[in-house]
Amino acid sequence: MSLSPSELQKEVDRIVEKHGVPGMVVATWQGGVRATAAAGVANLNTGQPFAADTGYLTGSITKVWLSTLLMTFVEEGTLDLDLPLVAYAPEVQFGADVEVAKTLTVRHLMNHSNGVDTSDLFVDSREYPDGVEDYLPRIAAAPKLTEPGVVSSYNNIGWIVAEIVLRRLSGRTFHELLQERVIEPLGLRRTVFSPREAILHRTAIGSFPAAAGRHEPTPQFMYPSAWAAPGTTIVTTVDDTLTFLRMHLADGLVPDGGGDARVLSAASAQAMRTPTSADPTGPASGFGLGWMYNEQDGRRVFSHGGGSPGGCAYALVSPDDDLALAAFVNSIAGMPPLADLVDAVLPAGPSPLAPPVIGAVRTDVDLAPFLGRYQRVTQRVEIVPSPDGDGVLVRLVPLPDDLVGATFPTMTDVKEFRAVPTAEDTLVSHGPAFAGSATALHFSEPGPDGYELVYLGKRLARRTGEAAAR
């Protein structure tokens, strides 16, 4: 049962009110009908309201656009996803393990299964396009989180490597190629690559919750531009995004093209939607190429979120329902409103934003294997027994030295929460955690000191030698 445009507007109004975020803009494709809705304030500095065509930073949804672009190179035979990427970029060493680096493929980048510990690394970099190259020295020293090709652990920097491969292949940049091969064929007019272009139009800016239920506008519009490929530069609208999503639903055909103009072949569009790597939690979620997938009861949806300073963007397609959704909330706490939106638009699920199903608390599970200190490049995870004897205390410590140009006061705060086991290998947060919903921590690789890996927030961290501070 689709939401009519007025029902969608009511739902958006309700969600903004309920969550106390400044505003939201949404476009849906359901039952062959397009609907858009906008509510609230797009810019807390200026008081300007959200309009249906308000632009916003699409964040990591960029990865689906870049994947689309990469597939056009696969189609023309100039890129093989399963050749070592050093065949295209011999000087690039992705990861300190030289032998492993020589085996990594572009597929490993596109499904986050490369196992290199660089996930959210921000180095001191120049502006795009030069700044992309500033990542090369650092990534050659990056430790190994896992062997490649085993599980997915969200890795933004893999996409910087993908752009470098594209540049070596074509001599052109990601921005240039996307404009030529995807944006123009789709006839998009509001998808741009810089604030200098976005400023010609209504553009939202992000915000952060402050005291007493208020939000403060972001002091910084965007994250560093060198991260263009993982997703810091594209400003778009829900309408443009919806056209892009409908192209994917139509297996590569330009929507409303009136003919057989294509951005992708059907095979390419389908390949992007074919699971190629699962999350450590199991086969029900993981990645195709670019797309995140979630599977339940034989139904699969494909989605991606996008973060920006104080903003959460979202895109979802459900081929079984011929349904697409594009949305943006201008608050760092935008995921819960987006979860409500997905529930309203996609009641049959599976919602990628649904909180984890929490089984019963297991009092028989030994806590010792969970305890200790785990690390990935920008975060340390410390797990100690809870002082009152009930489960454990999880402490998430940001490491801001590796977040140059991408820190905010809330980002550098240490998050602490209690967690209890619900399975031999799973802890679930007990009480308020991330943005109000439960967080699951999944553990793997049991060893003599306990589990070697912890997985949360779509990312793995590996046990370090040290014991956690009490």
């Binding site: 795009y128 604030p195 272009e197 976005a198 010609l200 209504r202 519009f221």
Partner: protein, 457 residues
């Protein structure tokens, strides 16, 4: 809300309608207090209303800010006005080796270096944009010999901005922020689009006023030209900057940004403008100097891609007026507004006499060229006309600059031209230097004659 603000707002609203200006903000500084009002919209595409806090591109008014940064360094003893540029910018070079060796900071601030001023090169969005731009000047030729005359020089201000970068270790953008905006407590003064986008930001409009005005598709000129014209600010902030200058270099809280001597030196006569009808009669250091009915003013105009800005400061009364606009017949609007607001009689608008004199046209015919700009002056049916062809990046961005003008005689060597749709006349002035070389002065720029009597191509 005072009666003054309400009256100003109503007046501004009426004026923007009459002159086809999409949106504008107007501020008046009097007795240390700033009143600011807004009218119209930031863009005719988005129809977002302009508010007093909306930020507009102030264009070349930026040059007074860059000059202020230089004078702060003079106060700090880091350089002097007559320091050769090469002494503070190792590696600096232009095509002429003599100019390379001897051009000084003063030449840059007074538009007398003769370095071709309209070099528009996009060196990217990075922090090294100004540095890379200055490197590109190595091939740039002279429009006129060093010190020989006056020709508006944007590139010279990018060089000045680079000097600021090298001596402070900051980008020019950070220097503006830390050394002027922050001490003055300016809340809405930015230099980069990613900062402007946090505010209500005006979009320029191009085309013919009353006929074809439309929002620009390119918001701003490249970052390489920052020190010459990329500040985007609300009108209140521009007047707070003027207030600091009126106070001899001090902020209202007493913080000193400039010595009184430096603030004064910026307003004092450095060089005459060859064409007395162009804009003001002379230049100081950064400031343009005006004589209105015996009263001395300083100020500057700004023009970007479809936005125009005007600042006039009347030191004897501690008054300043600033108008920021995003397109239309802004020259006409400025004229009407400032005449009343400054409470000083402005010079009569430049215009040809009702009965233009008969003038021998032959001495003026020819081709006048500087880099990127070719001006062909020719006689047609007994009248003088000129065709301006703008090449390169600027020509692509602003195609309306490339056009033909009919020149109406005003006096010997002095002509008037009026673009289509505009209410104001512009002067075109022919003159000869001591060494006999002939020049055409238009748009505050000197164009040397390269061919006598050439036919238009």
């Amino acid at each position: 809300m005072t009666m003054d603000a309400a009256r100003l707002r109503a007046w501004l609203t009426e004026l923007i309608g009459r002159f086809d200006v999409p949106g504008a903000t107007l501020g008046v500084l009097r007795d240390g207090q700033i009143v600011d009002v807004a009218a119209g919209v930031l863009s005719r595409a988005t129809l977002v209303p302009a508010t007093p806090d909306s930020v507009f591109q102030i264009g070349s008014i930026t040059k007074v800010w860059t000059a202020t940064l230089i004078m702060q360094l003079v106060d700090e003893g880091r350089l002097a006005l007559d320091t050769p540029v090469v002494d503070v910018l190792p590696g600096f070079a232009v095509a002429d080796p003599g100019v390379t060796r001897t051009v000084t900071v003063r030449h840059l601030l007074t538009h007398t270096s003769g370095i071709d001023g309209d070099v528009f090169v996009d060196t990217g969005r990075g922090d090294d944009a100004v540095e890379r731009y200055v490197e590109r000047l190595a091939d740039v030729a002279q429009t006129h010999p060093l010190d020989a005359t006056f020709s508006y020089c944007n590139s010279g201000f990018s060089v000045a901005g680079r000097i600021v970068e090298v001596l402070t270790g900051l980008t020019w953008d950070a220097a503006i922020r830390e050394r002027i905006a922050a001490p003055l407590g300016l809340m809405a003064t930015v230099t980069l689009p990613e900062d402007a986008i946090l505010h209500r930001a005006a979009v320029g409009h191009l085309g013919e006023p009353g006929r074809s005005l439309a929002p620009t598709t390119v918001w701003a000129l490249p970052r390489s030209g920052g020190p010459a014209g990329r500040i985007t600010a609300r009108v209140h902030d521009v007047l707070a900057f003027a207030r600091m200058h009126l106070a001899g270099g001090a902020a209202p809280d007493g913080t000193r940004l400039l010595s009184t001597a430096s603030a004064a030196a910026m307003t004092e006569h450095q060089v005459d403008v060859p064409d007395p009808a162009a804009i003001g009669d002379s230049w100081g250091l950064g400031w343009i100097r005006f004589d209105w009915d015996g009263h001395r003013l300083v100020g500057h105009d700004g023009g970007t891609v479809g936005q125009r800005a005007y600042l006039r400061v009347l030191p004897e009364r501690d008054v300043a007026v600033c108008l920021l606009t995003n397109g239309g017949d802004t020259a006409g609007m400025y004229r009407e507004l400032f005449a009343e607001l400054a409470d000083v009689t402005m010079p009569a608008p430049f215009a040809p006499p009702a009965d233009p004199p008969a003038v021998d046209l032959r001495p003026y015919v020819g081709r006048y060229s500087r880099a990127g700009f070719d001006t062909d002056v020719f006689a047609r049916d007994g009248s003088l006309a000129m065709r301006v062809t703008v090449n390169g990046l600027l020509g692509d961005l602003l195609p309306e600059l490339s056009r033909e003008h009919l020149l109406v005689p005003v006096a010997e060597g002095h002509f008037a031209t009026r673009p289509e749709g505009a209410t104001q006349w512009e002067p075109v002035f022919f003159y000869t230097l001591a060494d006999g070389s002939r020049y055409l002065h238009h748009g505050v720029r000197a164009n040397p004659r390269v061919e006598a009597g050439a036919e238009p191509r």
